[in-house]
């Protein structure tokens, strides 16, 4: 078991076996470390890769963010922030895979992004766009598991079905790791900032999040809400338990939860249309 885990970790931490990172990203990393770099400079750099720019804009216009038209990369950088644009750039190749091979998981991720954005706005939290992005990426480990361990994936699916397990429990039994940990490895190898990697790593275990517990709690709740709504497919049909620590840290109550459900159901009509358009 342990062999499998370390083998998987080796594969994931080895950038060469992952979907290739656009060359632009490394340059952008260097550039955005430089505090003096202007939005224009960064936008010019990203725009030089047209395919990448198109993918970023498509995601920036998804209902996970609340903007109606983001038509240029410099707009995207101003509205969403460099971190978000960078994460969308990095993960766009993964989304590409998701949209094609796993529509259900893509919809689950999109819906979690929508839910997280709603929660963050309702609670007037800072950095809503970052939170929405973390939610959009929260199950990214599942895509990697399905890419790198096709055989185990079949085994995991069978176990979920036969033993009525949460996907995460089945992953633990088969791989000795789970998609949250795999997502964490992945975020490391991509140099994602903590505020994105912590929610990805701990969305099933909020108390382990040390530096960004509120963001992690939002992503956790977004995952619960979207599973409750039945929108998309994440591997198993079971709604996860709302963690007490998440409820407390977000200071939730019945009224807020009721409003969130209503607003989410309203927004999901849009999300469904968006997903259909992407597949057309």
């Amino acid at each position: 078991m342990d062999d499998k885990r370390s083998e998987l970790k080796k594969i994931i931490m080895d950038i060469r076996t992952l979907p290739t990172l656009p060359g632009v990203i490394n340059k952008l990393n260097t550039l955005s470390e430089n505090a003096k770099a202007s939005v224009q400079e960064m936008a010019r750099l990203v725009s030089s890769d047209q395919v990448l720019s198109a993918r970023i804009l498509r995601l920036a216009n998804s209902p996970s963010y609340g903007f109606y038209r983001v038509s240029t990369i410099s707009n995207a950088i101003i509205l969403l922030g460099v971190n978000v644009v960078k994460s969308l750039a990095i993960s766009s190749s993964i989304f590409e895979i998701m949209e094609r091979s796993s529509v259900g998981l893509w919809e689950h991720s999109l819906g979690a992004g929508v839910a997280a954005n709603l929660i963050a706005r309702k609670l007037a939290l800072p950095e809503c766009e970052e939170i929405a992005t973390a939610a959009l990426l929260h199950d990214i480990g599942k895509v990697i598991i399905s890419l790198k361990c096709t055989e185990s994936e079949q085994h995991i699916k069978k176990m979920i079905h036969e033993k009525q397990l949460y996907m995460r429990e089945a992953e633990r039994e088969v791989l000795d790791t789970d998609h949250a940990e795999v997502g964490a490895w992945l975020s490391k190898s991509w140099f994602l900032p903590d505020k994105l990697s912590e929610p990805i790593a701990f969305h099933h275990d909020v108390q382990l999040s040390q530096n960004h517990r509120i963001k992690t709690a939002v992503v956790h709740l977004a995952d619960v809400l979207i599973k409750a709504s039945g929108f998309g497919e994440s591997g198993d049909r079971y709604v996860p338990q709302i963690q007490k620590i998440a409820w407390d840290v977000l200071k939730l109550n019945d009224e807020i939860l009721t409003e969130l459900v209503e607003e989410l159901e309203d927004k999901l009509v849009e999300a469904r249309n968006f997903s259909l358009e992407m597949q057309a």
């Binding site: 109606y68 949460y166 619960v224 809400l225 599973k227 409750a228 709504s229 039945g230 049909r237 079971y238 709604v239 996860p240 338990q241 709302i242 007490k244 409820w247 019945d254 939860l257 009721t258 459900v261 209503e262 159901e265 309203d266 009509v269």
Partner: protein, 112 residues
Amino acid sequence: MQKIPLMCATSGMKLARDVFRNDSPVGMPVCGKDTVLTDSLLARLDHLEVKSIYVEGHPLWSEGEKTLDEILCDLDLRFEKVRNDPLTSKLHSIYTAFLKNSMGDSSGRQTL
């Protein structure tokens, strides 16, 4: 609430959302939420090239669409592992109430 093509809308239905020109949610709404539709209003919306609107309840049913009972049953199945957890079962009751409310009672349903 249900999104329906304008051509399926009939007078008496009530708008659940503002209506915008060309279905684009920018600019001024041409007709506000909670308005009850009339024939002349429908003609005007058609003239403005509005393609679809959101109305209250669930007036149109298509073949194979799930009934409220089936939807509630699916909901229960999704919550099957967490029904005894106090916080998560709150969410279950909120969702149940929401679905009952938004689907209305299905009397007088029409087939699309």
